[in-house]
């Protein structure tokens, strides 16, 4: 019997490790939805994932997408959501970091969607006082893809790019195509017609602990992998202590649990979307 009884959550695909960080054929252990798993990737890049806790040895579905091994512990249906930019030839794709955070997956997604904390948590990088205003933006649930889309998000950034000397409004687009994954598009500093992609693929270890995999697909010919990773890890390292001090750790779906403001439009939509899907894992469902 699976520990997680939430079918919707169980039937999703989850990234559990970056392929470039493991040696071929070498076994790695991990935990997903409280289930112990092991996985390998062979020399040709084919993954294999099996249970090592209960039903030890049982193979579970797996695939390699966006540079990660993905698996599904329920009934796998369909593919991992699309990120078309990933396959553009001039992009640099990498796992920026895999970081353990003592928080539920949906709390971490909300933080990823949130702009209001930039001046306070990512001071002098993604935001700076007094540029604290969250301007009006649009949120919708795309019917054909069943995903949340937030557009026209603009926020003043002190280091908009390494090329530009001063601060400027940066434009963002957020997608939430999976209950525990989100994709962010951000104006590219090198090409004003294209956008950099930063995605978080969360691996819920249990209801209150995650491993967050951060995938980058960027247009950047100047910086080496190490400095690009370091930047993202700095950002995530600033979020981590905040996330770990949220109480309760699970995301409350009762609209009266917390106090939203207009800047939280995308988070409100996300909470409603999770409620409508009947998600119970990692959340405190609203009383019926």
């Amino acid at each position: 019997m699976a520990v997680c009884s939430d079918k919707t959550v169980l039937n999703q695909w989850y990234a559990i490790g970056a392929t470039e960080e493991i040696e071929p054929e070498r076994m790695t252990e991990t935990v997903l939805l409280e289930e112990e798993l092991s996985y390998t990737v062979d020399a040709l890049g084919s993954p294999k994932v099996w249970r090592t806790g209960h039903d030890a040895g049982e193979l579970v579905p797996s695939q390699c997408v966006y540079g990660y091994v993905w698996t599904c512990l329920g009934e796998a249906s369909g593919e991992v959501f699309a990120i078309p930019e990933f396959s553009e030839p001039d992009r640099r794709n990498m796992n920026a970091a895999t970081i353990g955070v003592n928080v539920s997956a949906p709390r971490a997604i909300e933080n990823f969607l949130d702009m209001g904390h930039f001046p306070y948590v990512h001071t002098d990088i993604l935001g700076v006082e007094p540029h604290t205003e969250v301007k009006e933006y649009d949120v919708e649930i795309s019917i054909e893809n069943d995903e949340i889309l937030a557009t026209r998000c603009r926020f003043f950034q002190p280091m908009a790019s390494q090329a530009s000397g001063g601060g400027a409004d940066v434009e963002y687009i957020y997608r939430v195509p999976h209950p525990f994954c989100s994709v962010l598009y951000k104006s590219s500093p090198v090409d004003d017609k294209r956008m950099d992609v930063i995605a978080v693929f969360l691996q819920p270890v249990d209801q209150e602990h995650i491993r967050a995999h951060m995938m980058l697909s960027v247009l950047d010919e100047d910086n080496d992998d190490k400095s690009i990773r370091l930047f993202q890890q700095t950002i995530f390292g600033q979020d981590k202590p905040i996330l770990e001090n949220q109480f309760p750790k699970r995301l409350p779906l009762d609209p009266r649990a917390e106090t939203p403001i207009r800047a939280d439009k995308s988070a409100i939509t996300y909470r409603r979307w999770l409620s409508r899907k009947g998600i119970t894992y990692g959340v405190i469902p609203a009383a019926a």
């Binding site: 306070y120 109480f247 939203p260």
Partner: protein, 587 residues
């Protein structure tokens, strides 16, 4: 267990609350953010920001407010009401955004609180007489009842014989979560009160208080003595607790926010727009009871202002107030305003004085000038009363800069009540202070000042209503024509009569609208989608001035002068109404 919720418990030591610190406390499974404001008040709050549940114990105590680390929301000392939401600087936080507070009493070197304690904190007679001295708190991983039971075995020496041994211990009382122990060794004795703070079902903090502070030379040895012995006893208790089944952690009830707060507020569509964002870069006391605020742009260049112009400031508490700019010519990198703390403030000046701080972002309107300065006068006289100096300061600076003849007569209580002294100094001999005069003396001075009218002189007056009235009258008596007297009231103190109902025709919009009793022309226009500028909305500032083409107006403002009023060709739509059944407006 329920009875525990109705009792007072110690949750911190006074020494846990040093200047500007925030302490993380816990009682019966519930976390508290405990912080002392600069005025000494101890706040015990639910340890959660109402916005996203982040612990407030990691927040910033600025001495007056606690600021959440996540989005910079600020909560006020005592009330725990939210005063500022930086993500929406133009909107006021709803008054009801208020964190949950718990009672707090500081006594015997400890901070006491509880979920819903009955009555007052009981007096501990043993500690009332002496000089209580709190010991280091000892956390124990064991249930409170076990800790209480085992604490009766605690052995210690009296303060005055701390290095001795074999003192006799008597347990005098053991009740209500505390034990009173007495240690006697020969002729010396010491009382120790041990309070048991149930942190959670399996965690406890023991807080000891000696009834008398040890002599200074013994202090360190006494503290060490208790630290070591209580730690040893802790080890024994924890060993015993380890053998018992682990109780379930307590589940404190987190109260829901009100229905009103749960829904996302709509964008406010006030007719008074505040398109500019400014940061308070400096706030200082420029004179007794008057705050100077220097506002710098967030983002773009501030729009041009003219001497006499004012801005609407949309305050964190939801009020909108008008303040004149004091800037000199060409001073376009900031706006500087002066705000007097009004004793009978309806919340505007109080908010500016008490809540707004350096670094805050405020939403303001573009500057509007309804008090324009002529620069073609042979001589210009400025008469300022109190805070009425602000628009006149800007005007005097403009004339001073161009070497145009002027005098600035500044009526003020005393020298220390004179705002922006550094600016006044630069104006030099043009400034004539009149200090500490009563109304009769003021009248006498005004007569002297206004007695030598010549054609093409102009007078600008700003100050409290009675002084303004007196100045206007004295000027008129001394032959100043209506169009040479320019004035600006702070507010309209007239009682507005809005009992009439009438019709308005909008000549350019080709609309006919009904204005019922109890509603202003301005409100009716807005309801019908006609956007007209406004600012003070009480008939003082002049922003909503509208040309009147036909009809007899019922002027209720203090902006227009008598000849303007009697001409009957303009009207302030925010307060004025119709004497005739119909007005035709040039809108």
């Amino acid at each position: 267990m329920e009875t525990q919720h109705r009792k007072w418990h110690p949750i911190a030591a006074s020494s846990d609350l040093p200047l500007r610190h925030t302490f993380h406390g816990q009682l019966l499974g519930r976390e508290f953010a405990v912080w002392r404001a600069d005025d000494g008040y101890v706040n015990v709050w639910e340890n959660r920001c109402l916005h996203r549940g982040v612990r407030l114990s990691i927040g910033i105590n600025d001495g007056a407010e606690l600021k959440c680390q996540y989005h910079g929301w600020r909560y006020a000392n005592r009330t725990a009401g939210c005063t500022y939401i930086p993500a929406h600087p133009a909107d006021a936080p709803a008054r009801t955004i208020c964190n949950r507070t718990y009672p707090a009493v500081e006594r015997y070197g400890l901070v006491w609180s509880g979920e819903t304690p009955d009555g007052e904190l009981p007096e501990i007679s043993e500690l009332e007489a002496g000089s209580p001295c709190a010991l280091r708190a000892i956390p124990v991983n064991a249930p409170a009842d076990l800790v209480t039971k085992r604490l009766a075995e605690y052995r210690f020496q009296p303060n005055a014989k701390i290095d001795g041994q074999g003192a006799e211990i008597t347990v005098e009382t053991a009740q209500d979560g505390h034990l009173s122990l007495s240690s006697v060794d020969g002729e010396v004795s010491t009382k120790l009160l041990l309070f048991v703070q149930p942190v959670d079902s399996n965690r406890t903090v023991v807080r000891g208080v000696l009834s008398d502070r040890p002599k200074q030379e013994d202090e360190l040895r006494v503290f060490l003595h208790h630290s070591r012995r209580l730690s040893s006893l802790r080890d024994l208790i924890e060993a015993e607790a380890a053998g018992l089944p682990v109780p379930e952690p307590m589940q404190p009830v987190i109260h829901r926010v009100s229905e009103e707060l749960a829904s996302m507020p709509e964008q406010t569509l006030s007719g008074r727009t505040a398109p500019l964002r400014v940061e308070v870069s400096r706030k200082w006391e420029t004179a007794a009871g008057i705050a100077g605020l220097k506002l710098v742009p967030v983002g773009e260049q501030l729009p041009t202002f003219q001497p006499g112009a004012h801005i609407d400031v949309h305050m964190p508490n939801g009020l909108v107030r008008q303040y004149s700019l004091t800037n000199g010519p060409g001073e376009t990198r900031h706006y500087t305003i002066g705000v007097k703390l009004e004793p009978d403030s309806r919340g505007g000046s109080q908010c500016m004085h008490r809540e707004v701080r350096e670094g805050d972002v405020l939403a303001i309107s573009e500057p509007r000038n309804n008090f324009p300065l002529r620069r073609d006068a042979v001589k210009t006289l400025f008469v300022a009363g109190g805070i009425g100096i602000t628009p006149l300061l800007s005007m005097a600076r403009a004339l001073h800069h161009s070497d145009l003849p002027h005098e600035l007569h500044y009526f003020s209580q005393s020298e220390k009540h004179m705002a922006f002294p550094e600016v006044l100094e630069r104006l030099g001999s043009g400034v004539v202070p009149h200090l500490g005069l009563d109304p009769a003396e003021t009248g006498k001075q005004l007569k002297a000042i206004l007695s030598r009218y010549q054609p093409a002189m102009h007078l600008y007056v700003c100050g409290p209503g009675p002084m303004l009235e007196a100045t206007r009258k004295i000027a008129a008596d001394h032959g100043w024509p209506d169009n040479s007297i320019h004035f600006e009231y702070f507010k309209n103190t007239n009682e507005v009569d809005d009992s009439s109902s009438f019709e308005i025709d909008l000549a350019r919009s080709v609309m006919t609208l009904q204005v019922p009793a109890g509603k202003t022309i301005l409100a009716v226009l807005r309801e019908n989608g006609v956007d007209v500028p406004s600012s003070c909305e009480q008939g003082a500032c002049g922003t909503c001035l509208t040309t009147l083409l036909e009809g007899e107006p019922d002027h209720q403002d203090v902006y227009l002068n008598e000849s303007e009023k009697s001409s009957g060709n303009c009207i302030m739509t925010c307060v004025s109404r119709a004497k005739s059944g119909r007005l035709v407006l040039d809108i």
